[in-house]
Symmetry: C2
Subunit: 322 residues, 2 copies
């Protein structure tokens, strides 16, 4: 192979768009990167791994892979109310393909630039295509949004629309980028998820519990309820569904995707009825809408309703990692 | 497969030995882990990836894989003079093998316990066996040991002995653990490297540049010299070689392993002649010896000497990652 590890890093990953991050004292090039926090801040960190053929189709464009990998990780920072600082990259490649690396690093840079995120270090090894990213964010001490704080009576909200990414994955698996408007939108929702960082930061004073929807609404809300020792009632008629999903799937399919489809990377959060009005004011000028979909109850278990009618809990309520 | 991701984490990675780390506010179980620094500290981070069949033999014992993966990462903290806090783990597994996971997590726990290191998060995915660890340490602001500070006239030191791990790898590749004393020692040096954390922390006030020897002495010293825009002269007769290496290899082989063999995870560092006496006093009661092997020179390039005789630079001066 023609490029050494050092040349590879120099050429593809030392881009100006990947060089500047808040709090970064020392980036790529030493044994460690060095990060700084302001007084009274804590660091929020999250590591995610993606495997070719498991987490993205083998034929996926490298630029989309890079974008999506970083976006999905930033979503974990959003779910803690943290402000992103920088990331590290573990890149395992079967061989050095320059066009692949060019696209992949561009995808990372595209998103990193939006949030002033630096790539501060990592490792490059030979092996089956596997990608790990760790993101680092900061949050005022004691203000991180955890998943264990939901209380009886809290209202349950989600951001954006649900089920789009799972529907988009079907188009992604089919290969080429779809040209039709609705399917193109769903494809985009799979490959170019929007981490809800601004929403997460604004929720800090109000939300009692927050999680990002990576495994599917029922699975992820389930994590909140389990950690909080609570149950909940969900109003299925309230679930926010995109026009694109409604127009390409029948009502029952759309509902199943919204409940069980993963990787939307929207936030699901709870807020007390007392805090709700102030929270809604704080979110007023955000570009992403939020929708109330149910209520936390001290009776454990998750109950689904269509109007007054009980609706059966789907058998497989979320993505299984194994 | 019988275990879900959550059960797997619960069973193998939520061990008491992996639960307690300094500065850890929130560990496994939420979207992010939360870390705290004291006022005036910076965080040092390093991510390493290991691939089965590339970085360790396919038949390696899982306990040794776990130990070595964490040890090699901690070595990067040592080379910055940082004190370890915690780590994250990206685990890609072809299938859930409980005996493998039991051994691997024990190997991690064995070393983590020595340094009060917590496992605070990570990701578990299905795919070809690939392991990533990111370590997090802390260092007083401005005191991190970088590789770009070597000055003309500085003395070059290394810790421990060189070439052992590369010789041990030969035994490791042969399969079973060797019983003979010398080969057993070398095997141990490959699979159970000792990160020189205490040494790194004590070097903070004295060393002008530090690196850990992962790619081989010549390659890693080369990184220091390149970053510092300096050259150096090395006295090969001074290179510290273990009794085990001397007794199992001829003099020329031992020398080549000491110069070019990777993964000893000893520290190579530079110190000014003025600081040397105080440094040696500070290191007096450390269990690991340090040896002076050469001197930094403003004339670029690396020159090797045996007594007064020039010695040719080996053609391949270190491990190539690709």
């Amino acid at each position: 192979m023609s490029l050494s590890e050092f040349e590879l890093i120099e050429r593809f990953f030392k881009r100006p768009q990947l060089a500047h991050g808040q709090g970064v004292i020392l980036g790529i090039g030493d044994d460690c990167a060095l990060l700084n926090l302001h007084h009274g801040e804590q660091m929020a960190i999250s590591l995610d791994t993606m495997v070719a053929g498991v987490h993205f189709p083998l034929h996926a464009a490298p630029r989309d892979i890079g974008y999506r990998l970083l976006a999905s990780n930033l979503s974990d920072l959003a779910a803690m109310g943290a402000e992103p600082m920088c990331f590290t990259l573990g890149l395992t490649l079967p061989q050095v393909e320059e066009t692949w690396l060019e696209g992949f690093s561009q995808g990372l840079a595209e998103l990193a630039q939006q949030y002033h995120l630096a790539l501060v270090g990592g490792d490059t090894t030979r092996g089956p295509l596997t990608l790990s990213i760790q993101v680092h964010g900061r949050v005022p001490a004691g203000q991180a949004l955890r998943r264990d704080g939901a209380m009886h009576g809290d209202l349950i909200y989600v951001s954006g629309t649900l089920g789009d990414a799972a529907a988009g994955l079907a188009y992604a698996l089919a290969g080429a980028q779809p040209s039709e408007e609705a399917s193109g939108y769903l494809w985009q929702r799979f490959y170019r998820p929007s981490p809800r960082l601004e929403l997460g930061m604004r929720l800090r004073p109000y939300a009692s519990a927050v999680i990002d929807i990576s495994d599917g609404l029922l699975a992820d809300l389930g994590h909140v309820l389990k950690a909080s020792h609570m149950g909940a009632d969900l109003q299925l008629d309230s679930l926010p569904l995109s026009e694109a999903l409604r127009s390409t799937r029948d009502a029952e399919q759309a509902l199943q995707l919204a409940l069980c489809g993963g990787e939307d990377f929207e936030l699901c959060f709870t807020v007390s009825p007392q805090e709700e009005p102030q929270m809604l004011r704080a979110l007023q000028h955000l570009s992403v809408p939020v929708t109330r979909i149910g209520q936390v109850h001290q009776r454990t278990g998750l109950r689904l309703w269509q109007g007054e009618q009980s609706y059966p809990l789907p058998a497989q309520a979320g993505y299984q990692h194994f």
